[in-house]
């Protein structure tokens, strides 16, 4: 099956006071038709920049997509003109943001904002548009849609606003929905409502979802495939069950070990020593090697490529490669 979205070697940089920093350094990933892919990583790993790059929403300057290709249905989004991108945004690829508080305009009613979104892509009469919006509001589970239509964002709770955002994103039936931390700002019981809603809507409308999150619990419940990022690079990719059962990269393993579990009793949490490196001062070789329990000489010298290991899995680590074995022997014999 041909993937819906295919990102190849994406490089995005930002000009800062301390010089040019590389936020994304050769990111490659794909999303199939109707597939849910989770993009996970800690703050600063580049997951949000990836999503903004796809929609060409990276603020420029200071940001710049330096290299790579973003193929959506076989066409390179980076080669599109701005008017063409406007057509694609919202109609083919829609996005919901983390902050339901700030992503709606406070001075317009929710109804008028939804009508605006629909009006961008479809020619409808005012009555048709309103009917469509009310249908959308019902679909995302907003009680009393007729009343909510005329309300302002501040009159709604965080969960309701996120529902409005989802309604807005889905009103043109996009083929791909990018959800950037859609539930991070919400309470757990509201998060459960929203995740439930996304699962239902996906079943009904069949869109693909690129879910960006740092919450492994959300990943386990939603995703079919997982892409793990660390410091601007993809370090592991695997089907969700495989990833949780046997994480291949030491970082993924550390990440899973450091989550306190509700269903398992443990006395001490696993930790990853140290901190995420800043973009300005990346370690040489594998970017994880200063924090990695298995690091050897080779890791500090050469960058491991993302390589296929079978069963739809990919990992960027020297562990288990012939090169690593040689380096291991060398350091042992020394």
């Amino acid at each position: 099956m041909k993937p819906l979205l295919e990102i190849e070697n994406l490089v995005t940089t930002f000009d800062t006071e301390d010089g040019c920093v590389t936020a994304l350094d050769g990111v490659s990933l794909s999303v199939g038709q109707g597939e849910t892919v989770a993009l996970v990583g800690e703050s600063g790993c580049g997951k949000s920049v990836t999503s903004l790059s796809i929609l060409r929403l990276v603020p420029s300057p200071p940001g710049k997509v330096e290299a790579g290709r973003i193929l959506f249905e076989g066409e390179d989004l980076l080669a599109k003109s701005e008017p063409q991108m406007r057509e694609i945004r919202g109609r083919d690829i829609a996005m919901i943001f983390q902050e339901p508080m700030t992503s709606l305009n406070p001075v317009f009613t929710c109804g008028s904002q939804l009508i605006e979104a629909i009006g961008q892509h479809q020619r409808l009469t005012a009555a048709q548009a309103k009917e469509k919006v009310l249908e959308m509001l019902r679909l995302v589970g907003i009680p009393l849609p007729d009343q909510r239509f005329d309300e302002y964002p501040h009159q709604m709770s965080g969960g309701m606003r996120q529902r409005v955002m989802i309604g807005m994103a889905l009103c043109c039936a996009p083929k791909l929905l990018i959800a950037d931390e859609p539930t991070t700002a919400l309470d757990v019981t509201i998060q459960a409502q929203i995740l439930d809603l996304l699962i239902k809507l996906k079943k009904k409308m069949g869109m693909a979802i690129l879910l960006i999150t740092h919450d492994m619990g959300v990943v386990a419940e939603m995703a079919e495939r997982v892409v793990v990022m660390y410091a601007g690079k993809v370090i592991e990719e695997a089907p969700v069950r495989e990833l949780f059962r046997a994480p291949a990269h030491p970082y993924t393993r550390g990440l899973l070990d450091s989550i306190p579990r509700l269903d398992v009793r443990e006395d001490q949490l696993g930790t990853i020593p140290g901190n995420v490196p800043s973009l300005g001062s990346m370690p040489s070789g594998c970017r994880f090697h200063p924090r990695c329990p298995h690091a050897c000489g080779l890791c500090a010298e050469r960058v491991p490529e993302l390589r296929e290991t079978g069963g739809g899995r990919k990992v960027a680590c020297w562990l288990g490669t012939p090169g690593m074995a040689v380096a291991g022997e060398r350091s042992a014999s020394r």
């Binding site: 703050s43 309470d187 492994m216 386990a220 306190p260 579990r261 509700l262 696993g270 930790t271 901190n275």
Partner: protein, 324 residues
């Protein structure tokens, strides 16, 4: 429960109401009941977790204990001494025994003070030790929370979130407190850093023997660190029990829904999620009777009319629900 031991901190019927407007001839007075009569005790050396969703009053409760916010009613006893109406000067003494760790490691450290000054400020405020002695103690504290001694001369902006939270912990521990109120200490941190800070806090407790009141919305973290856990909903504690008991057999329908709402990081586990309808009601107009009745799937007519009593369901498992 724990009849033989005296509690370190005992809170009874604590209330904090905010008057939104005083009312008048034609206007009714409106009151926001942030904390509406909660009681609990913290025993020496234990960790009591307080969980709840945003707006349930958990932070307000924590701040009331240190009198950073003046409670409206109720009483609080620290080591048998009533601190509810203690004088300002007396409270200053009491705060040597109760310290606070804040949620936001960015805004809770003064950006114009060095780490040494921040960690040493409790000594300065209380006039404890000076000169070389103070510097030594500061260095020991900084070292104890896992930062290098040279950090003392640096400023907060030079540190990451997790390191800043360590600085906040060092400051809280400076005076060897008996109780540390921790308000969402790890919520602002990344998962791998969260586990570092949680482990550090547990290590320090084993070593120094202070009690924690651990306030958080992250149930997994609370479960990991706490001995007992209280669950808050709309200004009330609805359930309080030993951690194991609460998580394995929750008695209150809200606790049950809250636990089921948390995504489990394991795709092999298929669970039935209890989806609560609607949102948390406003604490200005809480529902009558049991505050949870309008979202509860077991609600009975009695729940709408009378508020359930706070009772022991056996073995120190307290719950406020008509079902039990």
């Amino acid at each position: 429960m724990n009849g033989q031991r005296r509690p370190l901190l005992e809170v009874r019927n604590l209330e904090k109401h905010y008057v939104l407007n005083e009312g008048g001839l034609f206007r009714k007075k409106t009151v926001l009941r942030a904390v509406d009569g909660i009681s609990f005790s913290v025993f020496p050396g234990e960790t009591l977790g307080l969980v709840g969703e945003s707006g349930c009053g958990k932070t307000t409760a924590g701040k009331c204990i240190l009198r950073l916010i003046e409670p409206t009613a109720g009483s609080m006893e620290m080591e048998g001494e009533d601190i509810t109406r203690a004088s300002f000067a007396r409270m200053r003494e009491v705060r040597k025994k109760i310290q606070f760790i804040f949620q936001d490691p960015y805004s809770s450290l003064n950006p114009r003070m060095t780490v040494g000054q921040i960690v040493g400020e409790p000594f300065a405020i209380h006039g404890i030790c000076s000169g070389v002695e103070r510097r030594k103690r500061i260095e020991r504290l900084v070292d104890r929370v896992g930062l290098s001694a040279e950090s003392c001369g640096r400023y907060p902006h030079e540190f990451s979130g997790g390191q800043r939270q360590r600085i906040g912990i060092a400051r809280a521990l400076a005076l060897n407190p008996k109780l540390v109120v921790c308000d969402e200490p790890v919520s602002a941190l990344d998962v791998s850093i969260q586990s570092q800070v949680l482990n550090l806090m547990m290590e320090l407790q084993r070593e120094l023997g202070m009690a924690y009141l651990f306030i958080s919305h992250g149930l997994a973290a609370v479960k990991h660190i706490s001995k007992r856990v209280g669950v808050m909903y709309l200004g009330k504690i609805v359930e309080l029990a030993e951690t194991e008991a609460l998580f394995s057999s929750p008695l209150h329908p809200y606790t049950e829904a809250l636990l089921s709402a948390i995504p489990v990081p394991d795709p092999e586990i298929a669970r039935e999620r209890i989806i609560l309808e609607g949102d948390v009601p406003s604490p200005v107009h809480p529902p009558s009777g049991c505050r949870f009745h309008n979202r509860c799937r077991y609600a009975m007519p009695v729940c709408r009319e009378t508020e359930p009593e706070w009772k022991d369901a056996g073995g120190g498992h307290f719950v406020a629900c008509h079902l039990r």
